[in-house]
C-alpha cells in the first residue's frame, strides 16, 4: 500500500479511519497543552509524567485484572499525578533542582513499573499479554471507544482553556503579578498540570511511554517559531500535532514493519526542523540573511562616513574627489560604491566621486540614531 492508496482507503476502511482520527485528535490535544508546557519551561515534565504513568498501568491491571484501556489509563492518570506532585514536592521542599527531580521520578517510577510488568508476565494468567504495548504504543490497537474518549477529553480541555484563558495566559507570562491580582495561582497551576498529565496518559496507548514527551513538545516548539501570540501559537501547535499524527499514521500504514509512534515523532521532528530554519521571524535562515544585510549596510556606512570626513574639509561638499583615495580603505569595493550611487548618496563622474546633499546629511547623522529613525 502506498500513501495515495492509504488516503483513498481512508474513506472506506473502518480501522484506518479510527486510527487516523485517534492520532489526529491526540496530536491536536497534545499540541494545545504542550504549548503551555513549553512556555512554562516544563518541557521535560511530559517525559517524566509519561514514564511515571507506567506503574499505574501495571497496578491497575494487577488490582482489577482487566485490560480495559479506560481502567488502565485511570491507573496511569493516578500514578502520573502522584509523580507530578512528588516532583513539585522535591523541588519546593529540598535543595534538589528540577532536572534532578524530573530524572529521579522518571527513572524510579519507570523501573518500578518494569518490575511490576515483569512480575505480571510471570503470573499464570493468560490475560496479561499486551501490556507492553504501552511501552512503545500501538496505534493499531485503538478502538472507536478510545477515540471517543480522546475526543471527549479534548473537548473538555478546549472548554477549560477557553474558560480560563485569561488566567492561563497571565500565569504563563507573569506568575508574581497574577498572585498580586488575587488569582488563586495554585489552583490554575494544578489545573494546567492536571490537563497536561491527562493528555499524556491518553497518548500512552498510541505513542507509548518513551516517545510521548516528543508529542507534547515538538508541535508546540514548532508553533512557537511562527508567532508571538499565545492564541495563534496554540492553534498552530494543535494543527501541527494533528498533521504529524495523520501523516505519521499514513507513512507507517503504507510500509511494513514501521510502528506508528516513532514515525509520528519523526514527522513532528521534521516539522520542528523546518520551523527552526524557515520561519520568517525567528528562523535560522532569515536571521542569517538579516545578519548579512546588516553587516553589508555597516560597511557601506563606513565608506560613507570616510567620504564625509574628506568632504567635511572642503567648502563645497559636492567637490569631486578621486576614487583612488578610497582604495586602501577597508570595506570599499566597486560594488559598494555603486550601491552608494543607487542610494543617491554619491554621484560618480569618470574616476571621481562627490557626495550629494542627501549623502552628506545621512553621513552627518550616522551615529545619531534618533534622526535616522525620524528620517526613515
Amino acid at each position: 500500500m502506498n500513501i495515495q492508496e492509504y488516503f483513498s482507503l481512508l474513506f472506506t476502511d473502518y480501522t484506518l479511519q479510527t486510527i487516523t482520527m485517534g492520532t489526529a485528535v491526540l496530536g491536536a490535544v497534545c499540541g494545545m497543552l504542550g504549548s503551555f508546557a513549553v512556555l512554562r519551561k516544563q518541557s521535560l515534565l511530559g517525559d517524566a509524567i509519561s514514564h511515571a504513568a507506567l506503574p499505574g498501568i501495571a497496578l491497575a491491571f494487577l488490582i482489577t485484572g482487566t485490560k480495559d484501556s479506560t481502567v488502565l489509563l485511570l491507573g496511569a492518570l493516578v500514578s502520573g499525578l502522584i509523580g507530578t506532585f512528588w516532583i513539585r514536592g522535591i523541588v519546593t521542599k529540598t535543595h534538589l533542582k528540577s532536572d534532578t527531580a524530573l530524572g529521579l521520578i522518571l527513572s524510579l517510577f519507570f523501573g518500578f513499573g518494569m518490575l511490576l510488568l515483569t512480575f505480571i508476565q510471570k503470573q499464570p494468567n493468560a490475560n496479561q499479554a499486551g501490556l507492553d504495548k504501552y511501552l512503545f504504543g500501538q496505534a493499531a490497537t485503538l478502538l472507536r471507544s478510545d477515540v471517543w474518549l480522546m475526543t471527549a477529553v479534548t473537548a473538555t480541555c478546549l472548554m477549560v482553556v477557553l474558560l480560563f484563558w485569561k488566567e492561563f495566559k497571565i500565569l504563563l507570562f507573569d506568575a508574581e503579578y497574577t498572585k498580586t491580582l488575587g488569582f488563586n495561582t495554585r489552583f490554575i497551576d494544578i489545573l494546567i498540570t492536571s490537563f497536561i498529565v491527562l493528555a499524556i496518559v491518553l497518548g500512552l496507548q498510541t505513542v507509548g511511554v518513551v516517545l510521548m514527551s516528543a508529542m507534547l513538545l515538538a508541535p508546540a516548539a514548532a508553533a512557537r517559531q511562527w508567532t508571538n501570540s499565545l492564541g495563534i501559537m496554540i492553534v498552530l501547535a494543535a494543527l501541527f500535532g494533528a498533521f504529524s499524527g495523520v501523516l505519521g499514521t499514513a507513512i507507517s500504514a503504507s510500509h511494513n514493519n514501521l510502528s506508528t509512534g516513532p514515525v509520528i515523532v519523526l514527522v513532528a521532528a521534521v516539522v520542528v526542523l523546518i520551523s527552526f530554519v524557515f520561519s520568517p521571524g525567528r528562523g535560522i535562515l532569515f536571521r542569517e540573511l538579516r545578519f548579512r544585510k546588516n553587516r553589508k549596510d555597516l560597511q557601506l556606512f563606513k565608506t560613507l562616513s570616510f567620504m564625509y570626513n574628506i568632504a567635511e574639509n572642503h567648502e563645497d561638499i559636492s567637490h569631486p574627489h578621486e576614487i583612488k583615495i578610497l582604495n586602501n580603505f577597508q570595506g570599499f569595493t566597486k560594488k559598494s560604491l555603486r550601491k552608494l550611487e543607487d542610494e543617491n548618496y554619491v554621484t560618480i563622474k569618470g574616476s571621481r566621486w562627490s557626495l550629494t546633499k542627501e549623502g552628506y546629511t545621512k553621513a552627518a547623522n550616522l551615529y545619531n540614531q534618533q534622526t535616522i529613525d525620524t528620517n526613515d
Binding site: T100, A218, A269
Partner: protein, 386 residues
C-alpha cells in the same frame, strides 16, 4: 550463592559505582536530564554498531554508541545556542527523534537482526553470565563484567586525576576558566564519560536503569551531605546497596533485576527524602512550622511593646487586634508565658523584663540587619539560626 549469582551482583555493583561517579557531577551541574537524553539517543549508534560488528559488547560498538551520545549533547547545545527554544525543550526534542530513528532501524531489519528494543531499554542482567569471554580454552568470566570493569577503572582514574579541576568547574565556572582549566574541555570530557558509561552499562542493565543509577544515588547523597567527597562515597554506597538488594528482591519475586534495583533505589531515596536529618521533608516541615510560630510570637511581643495602654493589652482585645484565631492566639500566649516573656495580670498582658530585652534585641536586628545583634537571641530561636 552460585557463581552466576555472584557474577550478576558484581556486574550490578560495578555498574552502580561507574554510574554514581559521573552522576554526582551531573546532578551538581544541574544536567541530570542529559543522562536521560544520552541513554535514549545512543540507540541509533548501538544499532549501526551492531550491524557492523554483530556483537553488542564489542569495543567498536561501544565507541560508536558513545559517539552518538556525545553528538546528542552537541545537538542539544547547538539548538540551545540558536535561542529558538529553552534548554529543556532542546533536550526533549533531540532524544525522542534519535530514539525513533533507532527504533525504526531495528524494526526495518527485524528479520535478520537479533536485537530488540526491549533488550536495549531494559537490559537483561540475568543473561549476562552466559555471554562469557573465552580466550583459547580459559574462561575469563562474563564479557559485560570486563567491559564495565574497564570503564569503571577508566572513570576512577579520570576522577582522581582531574578531581580538583572537576570540583572547581562544577561549583564556579568563572573561577575555573580564570585558573586556566577549560570548562569546555571538562564539560565534554564529563559528557564523554557519561556516554561511555551509559553504553557500557545499558547492555547489562538497560538504558532506563542507567539513568536511575546516575541520578538517584547522587540525589540521595546530596540530601545528606554538602561535601563533594562524602557525596561521591555515599552515592557509590547507595548504588551498590541497591544493586545487591535489588538482585535478591528480583530473585525472590522472579521479576526483572533492573526493575527491582530501580525500585530499591526509589525506596532508599524516599526514605532519605522523608527522614534526612537536615534537608528531609519532615525536618523541613518541622522547621517551617517552628519558624511560623516564632514569627507569630515575635509579632505578638512587638505589639505588646508598642502599646502601653491597658485597653490594648487586654487578652480579648489582642485576639481581634492581631487578627488571629482563638486557638492560635492561645498557643502563642502560652508559648510566651512558658518562656517568661510576658506576665498575665487580671487578663491584662504585660512584657516581663526578659521579654522586653528580647523584643528590643530582635527589633534592633530587624531594623539594622546586622549579625552582631543576633548573637544573644540565636540560642532561643530557630528563626535566627540562619
Amino acid at each position: 550463592m552460585t557463581s552466576a549469582q555472584l557474577e550478576i551482583q558484581m556486574i550490578a555493583s560495578f555498574v552502580a559505582v561507574a554510574c554514581a561517579i559521573p552522576g554526582t557531577f551531573l546532578v551538581l551541574r544541574k544536567m541530570a536530564l542529559i543522562s536521560d537524553a544520552i541513554s535514549h539517543s545512543i540507540l541509533p549508534g548501538i544499532v549501526i554498531g551492531f550491524f557492523i560488528t554483530q556483537d553488542l559488547s564489542s569495543p567498536i560498538n561501544i565507541l560508536l554508541a558513545a559517539l552518538s551520545g556525545v553528538i546528542t549533547v552537541i545537538l542539544v547545545e547547538f539548538i540551545q545556542k540558536t535561542r529558538l527554544v529553552k534548554e529543556d525543550t532542546a533536550i526533549g526534542l533531540v532524544f525522542p527523534a534519535l530514539f525513533s530513528i533507532g527504533v525504526i532501524m531495528i524494526a526495518q531489519n527485524a528479520n535478520d537482526v537479533h536485537l530488540d528494543v526491549d533488550a536495549v531499554l531494559l537490559g537483561e542482567l540475568a543473561f549476562a553470565p552466559f555471554d562469557r569471554w573465552i580466550l583459547g580454552t580459559t574462561d575469563l568470566g562474563p564479557k559485560s563484567l570486563w567491559v564495565i570493569g574497564i570503564i569503571l577503572l577508566f572513570t576512577i582514574t579520570l576522577l582522581i586525576t582531574f578531581f580538583k579541576e572537576l570540583k572547581v568547574s562544577t561549583f564556579d565556572v568563572g573561577l575555573a576558566s580564570a585558573l586556566g582549566f577549560s570548562p569546555v574541555v571538562l564539560h565534554y570530557g564529563l559528557m564523554s564519560v557519561a556516554s561511555i558509561t551509559t553504553v557500557g552499562a545499558f547492555d547489562a542493565v538497560g538504558a532506563i536503569l542507567v539513568v536511575a543509577l546516575m541520578i538517584a544515588p547522587a540525589a540521595t547523597a546530596y540530601l545528606l551531605t554538602t561535601d563533594l567527597k562524602k557525596m561521591l562515597v555515599l552515592a557509590c554506597v547507595f548504588g551498590v546497596f541497591s544493586a545487591v538488594m535489588g538482585y535478591w528482591i528480583a530473585h525472590w519475586l522472579d521479576a526483572s533485576i533492573s526493575g527491582s534495583m530501580t525500585t530499591v533505589l526509589g525506596l532508599v531515596f524516599l526514605g532519605v527524602y522523608l527522614f534526612a536529618p537536615d534537608k528531609g521533608l519532615f525536618s523541613v516541615l518541622y522547621r517551617q512550622r517552628q519558624q511560623q510560630t516564632e514569627v507569630s510570637l515575635l509579632v505578638f511581643l512587638l505589639h505588646l511593646q508598642n502599646h502601653t495602654e491597658t485597653s490594648e493589652r487586654h487578652r480579648n482585645h489582642l485576639q481581634e487586634h492581631i487578627n488571629w484565631g482563638s486557638v492560635k492566639s492561645e498557643k502563642v500566649l502560652k508559648l510566651a508565658l512558658d518562656n517568661n516573656m510576658i506576665s498575665v495580670d487580671n487578663e491584662v498582658i504585660s512584657l516581663t523584663e526578659k521579654g522586653y530585652n528580647f523584643t528590643t534585641g530582635a527589633l534592633e536586628y530587624i531594623t539594622m540587619n546586622k549579625t552582631s545583634e543576633l548573637e544573644n537571641i540565636k540560642e532561643d530561636f530557630f528563626l535566627f539560626r540562619g
